[in-house]
Symmetry: C2
Subunit: 330 residues, 2 copies
């Protein structure tokens, strides 16, 4: 490391948590990574203040741990739920945060006196996995972020692909059932309506409503509204039949989404990140088998389907990478 | 036009017909375009011979009509049903032609002593519409080719996108019904199984099987096996209820495919070409309305959804463009 090495701060803004950290431009390490609740209920100004305080905390850590001076901090990359307008740095609308046309990029950049960039959170997670995680070396990559919603990102020829209006990669909102479940986006039959965390819990609740015996009831203390996807996966591992059926169906739904992506986009890597993807073999073994049944052989043969490797920091790492893509540093 | 203007021959190889023609590299005109039956039943050698004879006929026309000399013929672009290996110039498999690992590019190129390129027929049709048809000016474009099957092509940043193994753009094989109709590709619920020409005819036959009155029976001379998508669209225009229902459902299925593409790929143009797309407003009006209901607003607002403009020559024009993309001429 030389004295002139540049550092970039990455911000991963989620509906529940904020993750902020920094990396040198060569991606060799993570510095000053810390997490705080977003507290969107306190309003946009409070969230911006919190983000800026976290950025300053991270910068102080970078300077203390590396001996860098403030001039070596090149800027801030921000990943945010969308839809957003990257060029103007606006968050157009986020149901979780309650924002509309909010100039997040400039509010943060102005307050910390640093150049800033804004990109979609799922794009950032995908870019992070491509830069330093399990999609490394891929040329055309699709990331699925599995959580409260299902997001995604597309990398074409080693660069994030944004499309005509920064919507590209909304793979959770592919229709996989023409007359299917209502989705939060207003459409019917979206992948997200079957395989997001809340959708998994809802399908389990529906399966329980016929009275079949299951450990799930006890696992959520008798209150089925407290049932989560994590509970379902835990029960499945202990052999619970209802939970195992839901887990198997979830793999099938996700496989339809992955197979669609393989036939349309023919990537060399598909990376699945986020909560549900932590299920490991119980997800990936049946998922890969179902993708093989559904997608074209040359597309299946050309593609690795892998879990994300960066866990909680993919979004922060990718926000750093997205900043560097727009502001290359020496 | 100068003496040194170069000409490229385009070949559009279909299961039923061959279209061959030529264009100057500036795309300013079509020359020597003619069509012959493919006659795949006579075997691959016979098809290659026929293609080469048609190429020579076209070259003779170019020389006669423009005064060009043979050295001004830069090469031959071939569009073929896939899957194929572009780098090796192989047609990997085509059910319609009965070929396996057939070195089409070099067989044709060697026989006419010209450089040749090979690309997917639907890619070529999309590229043709982008170069000289209704997708002109688009930056990120998706083409749907509606016919016996449903193919597609993706243009990213003004260049054909092929993916990791030349499969990209198989949008007819997106699953839109998780437990849907069996598709010729082996999967269930593909868009093609609902909205290809034969699928439209099959859905009409199914609708007739309950005995509802319809002019469709008379239109196909009482032999429902002779029912085609064209008959269904014709009957729909005269107010036939069964046919109109099938036409409306077809628009809905296609809209699901288009909406999926808008949410994942966020193109600025979607162009629908081929037989079914000729239905005009009776397809495009309900299709656009359904897309607006299903896809994200910024994606809908950013995208023109248009019928192809080149009709029968899109594949030939695009094959010329694909050659030029690989062999730029002065």
């Amino acid at each position: 490391m030389t004295d002139s090495l540049k550092y970039v701060v990455g911000v991963d803004l989620g509906g529940t948590n904020l993750v902020v950290g920094a990396m040198p431009s060569d991606g060799s390490r993570e510095l000053g990574v810390h997490t705080l609740p977003t507290r969107a209920d306190l309003g946009a100004d409070a969230v911006v203040n919190r983000i800026c305080e976290m950025i300053e905390t991270t910068i102080a850590t970078v300077m203390r741990e590396t001996g860098a001076v403030r001039a070596q901090i090149a800027g801030v990359g921000i990943g945010s739920p969308g839809p957003l307008d990257r060029e103007k740095g606006l968050v157009i609308v986020t149901p979780n945060l309650g924002w509309k046309d909010f100039p997040l990029r400039d509010r943060v950049g102005d307050q910390v006196h640093l150049p800033a960039t804004l990109d979609n959170d799922a794009n950032c997670a995908t870019l992070g996995e491509w830069w330093l995680g399990s999609a490394r070396g891929g040329r055309n990559v699709v990331g699925f972020t599995l959580g409260t919603g299902i997001g995604g990102g597309l990398i074409v020829d080693g660069r994030l692909y944004h499309g005509a209006s920064d919507v590209a990669g909304e793979i959770g909102h592919m229709t996989i059932e023409a007359n299917g479940r209502r989705c939060g986006c207003g459409n019917y039959g979206c992948l997200e309506a079957y395989a997001s965390g809340p959708a998994i819990a809802m399908r389990a609740r529906e399966a329980l409503s016929n009275g079949e015996p299951s450990t799930l009831r006890a696992l959520c203390g008798g209150d089925l509204l407290k049932l989560t996807a994590a509970t379902v996966y835990r029960a499945s591992e202990t052999g619970d039949t209802v939970a195992s059926d839901v887990v198997r169906e979830t793999a099938r739904f996700l496989a339809i989404g992955v197979a669609n992506i393989l036939n349309v986009f023919n990537p060399d890597v598909v990376v699945l990140a986020g909560g549900v993807a932590k299920a490991g073999d119980s997800l990936f073994v049946p998922l890969r088998a179902e993708v093989r049944r559904r997608a074209f052989k040359p597309a299946v043969d050309a593609c690795r389907i892998v879990p994300g490797a960066l866990d909680g920091s993919a979004g922060m790492v990718g926000a750093v990478a997205a900043f560097l893509a727009e502001h290359p540093v020496a």
